[in-house]
C-alpha cells in the first residue's frame, strides 16, 4: 500500500509539474494543425535564431568537454597545485544567477571593461562566451567522481606494460570515463540550448541577428505571436530528446549486459 502510494505520488508529481506543461505546449503548437507550426518555424528569423543557438552549442559543448576532462584529470589524478580552488570554483556557474553572469561579461567586455572594444558584445562571440560560462561545470562534475572511483591501478598496470602517458589516457582512462563524459555532454548540451538569462544580457537581443531560439520564444510570446513561440519551443524540446536518444544508441552492448 505504502509503495503504491509512493509510486502514485511520484508519478503524479511528475505529471503535474513536468508532463502537463510540456504536453500543453505541444498541444498549443499543433492546435491549428501541422502547417501553421511549420511556417512559424521556417520563417527567416526563426531559422536564424535556431542556427545561432546551434552554433553556440557546437562551440560551447566540445570546448567544455575538453576542458572538463582536462580539469577533472588535474583535480583527481595530477593534484596540480591550486586545483583544489578550481574544484571549488567550477561550480560557480551553477550557483550564480545567469543574469549576473551576463552582467559580469558585460562589465568585462563593455566599452570601459578590461577587455573592451573587441566587438564581442551584442554579437555571436558574446553569446558563445555566455553559453560556455553557464554550461561549464557539467562534464567536470560527472567525470570527477568516476575518476576517483576507478582508481589508478588500471593506469599503473598499463604503465608497467609499457604504455605512454597519452596511450594510458586514450586506451585506459578515457574508455573508463566515457559514460560520465557522455552524460556530462548531454547535460552541457541541454544547458547550452536552453540558456536564456546570460545570453539575454550580453546579446543585445536583436531580432534576426543576435536572437537565439530561447530569446525568440520569449520575444514572440511577448508580442502575442504564440504560434511561433510554441513551435520554437517544440524544436528545442525535440533537439533535447534526440540528444538523449543518440547517447542511448551509442551505448555499446558490453555495458548493457
Amino acid at each position: 500500500m505504502g509503495r503504491y502510494l509512493l509510486r502514485c505520488g511520484a508519478l503524479g508529481y511528475l505529471a503535474v509539474l513536468l508532463l502537463a506543461p510540456v504536453g500543453l505546449v505541444f498541444y498549443r503548437a499543433f492546435e491549428h494543425g501541422f502547417w501553421p507550426a511549420w511556417h512559424a518555424i521556417a520563417s527567416p528569423d526563426a531559422m536564424h535564431a535556431l542556427k545561432l543557438t546551434l552554433v553556440a552549442a557546437a562551440i560551447a559543448v566540445p570546448a567544455n568537454m575538453v576542458f572538463g576532462i582536462l580539469c577533472a584529470l588535474a583535480i583527481v589524478r595530477y593534484r596540480v597545485p591550486g586545483f583544489r580552488l578550481v574544484n571549488a570554483l567550477v561550480d560557480l556557474p551553477l550557483a550564480l544567477s545567469p543574469v549576473v553572469v551576463g552582467l559580469s561579461l558585460l562589465l568585462l567586455y563593455g566599452r570601459n571593461g578590461w577587455l573592451g572594444g573587441h566587438n564581442v558584445l551584442f554579437a555571436t562571440p558574446a553569446i558563445v562566451l555566455a553559453t560556455i560560462f553557464v554550461s561549464l561545470p557539467f562534464v567536470v562534475r560527472e567525470v570527477v567522481p568516476v575518476l576517483r572511483e576507478i582508481g589508478t591501478e588500471q593506469e599503473q598496470a598499463a604503465s608497467t606494460l609499457g604504455a605512454s602517458g597519452f596511450e594510458i589516457f586514450r586506451r585506459i582512462t578515457l574508455p573508463s570515463i566515457r559514460w560520465a563524459v557522455a552524460y556530462g555532454v548531454v547535460l552541457t548540451t541541454a544547458r547550452a540550448l536552453g540558456e536564456y538569462g546570460a545570453v539575454r544580457v550580453v546579446s543585445g537581443n536583436i531580432v534576426g541577428q543576435t536572437e537565439t531560439t530561447t530569446l525568440f520564444v520569449a520575444n514572440r510570446y511577448q508580442d502575442f505571436e504564440t504560434q511561433a513561440a510554441y513551435a520554437a519551443s517544440i524544436v528545442l524540446a525535440l533537439i533535447a530528446v534526440v540528444t538523449l536518444l543518440l547517447m542511448n544508441r551509442l551505448r555499446p552492448k558490453e555495458e548493457t549486459r
Binding site: 599503473q156 604503465s159 609499457g162
Partner: protein, 315 residues
C-alpha cells in the same frame, strides 16, 4: 638480479622504508614477508617504478633504473585486486603490452594464444573480466604481465583477495610456472605459509626494516630474532625463552627436568591436537600433539601433566 640499495621512502610522517637494501638473485622466487605497514608492498612498488624512493637506488641486471619510469624498466607487475582492464576482453588484456609495443598482429595473436594456454584460460579469450572468477582474473593478470617477457615478475599480494581453496591452488600453480619459466620473481605476502610454500628465499620485513633473509627452512629453524620467530610460526613465550608448540614433550609422570601443568583445553583439529596448558607458576603454554600421542597419554581437560621442552630458543 635486482639490487635495491639504501631505499628510504616516506609518506608524510610515516616512514615506509628506512634504508632498506636487498638483493634478488636472477632466476629466484623471493618472497617479501611481513605484517601490513612493514613496507613490503612499497619496496615492490619502488622496484617497479610505481613509487619513487626519497633516497637509494634500484638496479636491474646491473642497470641503474632509479630515475626510470615503469614503462622503461621491463618489469611485469601483478596487482592484488587484479587491475583488469574492464572494457577489454581477456585476449585484449593479455595482448595490451604487445599492442603498445606495436608488434605485428600475427605475433600478438600467437603469443596471446600461448599465454592463455599456459594460464588455462583458452576457452575464455573473448570474455570480459566481469565474467570471470577472481582466480581466473588473477591468472589473466599474470598472463598479461608475462606477455612482454619481463626481466622480473613482481606480484603484490596476488592471492590476497581470493578464497582459501583457490589461493592454495594458485600458489602451487605459480611455483610450477616458475619452475618452467625461471623468471626472476618477487612475491609480496603477509601469509607466512604462502611465503614458505612458494618461495626459495624469504625476506622478512617489519616496520620499514629487513629482519632476516633466508631460505624458508632456515627461517623457521634459525630465526634471527623474536620477531621472525613469532611471525613465521606459532610460538610460546616463557620469560625470555621461546618454544614452538611441537617442541614440547608431555608425560604423566614427573621425571627430572619436567614441570607440572594442567590441561585447560583440548582442541581437536583432525590429525593434530592442540593442548592449552597452564603451568603451576601460572604461565600459559600451547602444545601441538598428534592424535596418537593424545590417545596414548589418555589426555583429558583438567588433567595434570609434566612438561619438558625438547628445543628452546633464547635471543
Amino acid at each position: 638480479m635486482i639490487e635495491a640499495r639504501n631505499i628510504t621512502k616516506r609518506f608524510g610522517d610515516f616512514t615506509a622504508l628506512d634504508h632498506v637494501s636487498v638483493d634478488v638473485p636472477t632466476g629466484s622466487l623471493t618472497a617479501l614477508l611481513g605484517p601490513s605497514g612493514s613496507g613490503k608492498s612499497t619496496l615492490l612498488r619502488v622496484i617497479a617504478g610505481l613509487d619513487r624512493p626519497d633516497a637509494g637506488t634500484v638496479s636491474l641486471d646491473g642497470d641503474d633504473v632509479t630515475g626510470r619510469p615503469p614503462q622503461k624498466r621491463g618489469v611485469g607487475f601483478v596487482f592484488q585486486h587484479y587491475a583488469a582492464f574492464k572494457h577489454m576482453t581477456v585476449q585484449e588484456n593479455v595482448g595490451f603490452g604487445l599492442e603498445v609495443r606495436r608488434r605485428p598482429r600475427a605475433e600478438i595473436v600467437k603469443r596471446v594464444d600461448e599465454l592463455l594456454e599456459l594460464v588455462q584460460l583458452k576457452g575464455l579469450a573473448k570474455r570480459y573480466p566481469a565474467q570471470l572468477s577472481g582466480g581466473q582474473r588473477q591468472r589473466m593478470g599474470l598472463a598479461r604481465a608475462l606477455a612482454v617477457d619481463p626481466k622480473v615478475l613482481l606480484l603484490d599480494e596476488p592471492f590476497g583477495a581470493l578464497d582459501a581453496r583457490v589461493r592454495k591452488e594458485l600458489r602451487a600453480w605459480l611455483r610450477r610456472l616458475h619452475d618452467e619459466t625461471h623468471t626472476t620473481t618477487v612475491i609480496v605476502t603477509h601469509d607466512q605459509e604462502e611465503a614458505m610454500e612458494v618461495a626459495d628465499r624469504v625476506v622478512v620485513m617489519n616496520g620499514g626494516h629487513i629482519e632476516q633473509v633466508a631460505p624458508p627452512r632456515e627461517l623457521y629453524d634459525a630465526p634471527a630474532n623474536e620477531f621472525v620467530m613469532s611471525f613465521v610460526g606459532p610460538v610460546n613465550r616463557l620469560g625470555d625463552t621461546y618454544i614452538r608448540p611441537h617442541d614440547v614433550e608431555l608425560s604423566l609422570e614427573p621425571n627430572g627436568a619436567t614441570q607440572e601443568a594442567m590441561v585447560e583445553r583440548l582442541v581437536h583439529l583432525g590429525f593434530e591436537v592442540r593442548a592449552e596448558l597452564v603451568r603451576d607458576d601460572g604461565e600459559e603454554l600451547s602444545v601441538q600433539l598428534t592424535r596418537e600421542q593424545t590417545d596414548a597419554l589418555e589426555l583429558a581437560e583438567g588433567q595434570i601433566v609434566y612438561v619438558r621442552p625438547t628445543r628452546q630458543t633464547v635471543f
